[in-house]
Symmetry: C2
Amino acid sequence: MTQPQSVGVVTPQRLRFTEPLALRSGGRLDEYELVYETYGELNAARSNAVLVCHALSGSHHVAGHYADAPNNIGWWDNLVGPGKPLDTRKFFVIGVNNLGGCYGSTGPASVNPATGQPYGAEFPFVSVEDWVESQARLADALGIERFAAIVGGSLGGMQALSWTLLYPDRVGHAVVIAASPKLSAENIAFNEVARQAILTDPDFHGGNFYAHGVVPERGLKLARMVGHITYLSDDAMAEKFGRSLRHGKQVFSYDVEFEIESYLRYQGKKFAGYFDANTYLLTTKALDYFDPAFEHAGNLNAALAAAQADFLVVSFTTDWRFPPERSREIVSALMHNRRHVSYAEVECAAGHDSFLLDDAQYHGVLSAYFDRIEVR
Amino acid sequence: MTQPQSVGVVTPQRLRFTEPLALRSGGRLDEYELVYETYGELNAARSNAVLVCHALSGSHHVAGHYADAPNNIGWWDNLVGPGKPLDTRKFFVIGVNNLGGCYGSTGPASVNPATGQPYGAEFPFVSVEDWVESQARLADALGIERFAAIVGGSLGGMQALSWTLLYPDRVGHAVVIAASPKLSAENIAFNEVARQAILTDPDFHGGNFYAHGVVPERGLKLARMVGHITYLSDDAMAEKFGRSLRHGKQVFSYDVEFEIESYLRYQGKKFAGYFDANTYLLTTKALDYFDPAFEHAGNLNAALAAAQADFLVVSFTTDWRFPPERSREIVSALMHNRRHVSYAEVECAAGHDSFLLDDAQYHGVLSAYFDRIEVR
């Protein structure tokens, strides 16, 4: 067994699309750009491509690092590379920043050609299905008719699932990790708190903060803090922070006192320094709206009837955001439709964020699954 | 069996205390007032008094209504009254607004005699133990040497527990409902998000918003919204709101779309209209700090060794804020100390808020317990 390696230095690429994209919201983008990265080599048969879909705060930068920023390592670098579960000696892996994002693809901070100003609040609502559509166009441009696999965690898993419904004959395998067939009322509630934090921040300026030279930092920070709580398990938080006091004793102040406060404030502040508030809003709405059964009167069996891919569905025992029950709903509906489904419920203490971690059982499952995918 | 009745019209009372109160935080109140209500009659032996301690947003107004506000019904009216589980034909029940509150007892919005201005940020941190101390002085003033019972849910349950440790011989029975011996890291994390929402609201003005004629409404609203999510169970939210759409279809807007959004915004806005932001901050800190085992090197058995009361501990299966495990920690430590403990784990779908509801099993347990308390 060879030692897993990094894909090394990578370079983002950019494609411009000029065919208008009609969106589920009724909106439309006349033209747009997608930023993406690729790892490994597309084989002659163009049959070894794997698309990695990102979650709320992810990007196209899935693996490797940049020549001028060696510490900027891809968010799923532990998964993708030579000798890693998603082995780039076998697969041609693609990461793409979703439309509406803030890492280079056309989004709210991009200049609206119609006005010469940043889109801001004018950027149309984008849905999981719109992302799939734009990713399909990217695949067309790269000459990929059919993906060996499409993989994603959380919101990324929803995109993988959606792909199998919108383009059943273009997906060999779908790997749907820590996802859900739709958000619960509680999930929506947390998203709504995050949105209200941003929308009511005076520095948000109705979404057109770019023109004011400010960002709604307070709102974004709060949004990230509340999000972060839902990404971790109660146990993981207890183990990592417990009730540890920064100063070893109670100091009676609103400054950081418990270590968990320090962690959340740090995460929130950091996030507010680089993430776009409008992207956050748009992405939480895409999450809320995702519900393939909606047009089938809530019948998930009917909704997933279109899928032709083989599936690997993975959940984590301590994930209370999208708990195993939600993954099992997907599995059950796929089984009902006689799809080939593998399902793994991984015991990992880290909660929803487990999908990003290098857990032995989890990566073992992924390795075994990717290994058996035939690429000819 | 007689039909349960309301205690009817009630009138808040007020007592002024001029003996300085030294607080755990090192702060001190030279004088203060407590607002309270009583229901039923104190018997000749002064042996039938029950103290009801309130939680984060509660008050002294536990039961009945006001002559000039018939719709302003006490927050635990379903529990307290003639023929109700806490029967006012047998017991003399007292509700008191805690120090630092915003319902009439001395708090951050009160005038600081030293400055002639509202205390605002100058109001000292108050702890569960400080509340117990002030409640003991109220009991002294009312001629109550020993309570037949002290009862509370959530933060109120923590006060009941604390009473048994600080004044073991003044509590006959402690009824500790939906409480915890200390907050978890996740509990603290949610409180911290709420606090940051308030502290970073530009209208907070460092706690001295009174002088500016504003209230940090956005921050308070967010704090209440995030709090509310933790008070309900995932299932209760699903049953009550599900993914119901306000307009029956997706409208692609940041206005209210899902019913759960409408509910949370309404609750948040209403709360921000009457609750004091400084009280919210102080109370969440009192919650965070509560940890009777802290001075016993984390040993809860040792911490609860002082208790002499009999106990009823109640938890709710769907309470994920203070889940049954946390109540069982209290039960276990009391059993270790050979206390008389009854424990009920009630199947109620409503989550943490179950303690406020008129659930048959829950109220049955309380009725049976209060019925067997001897009052002579």
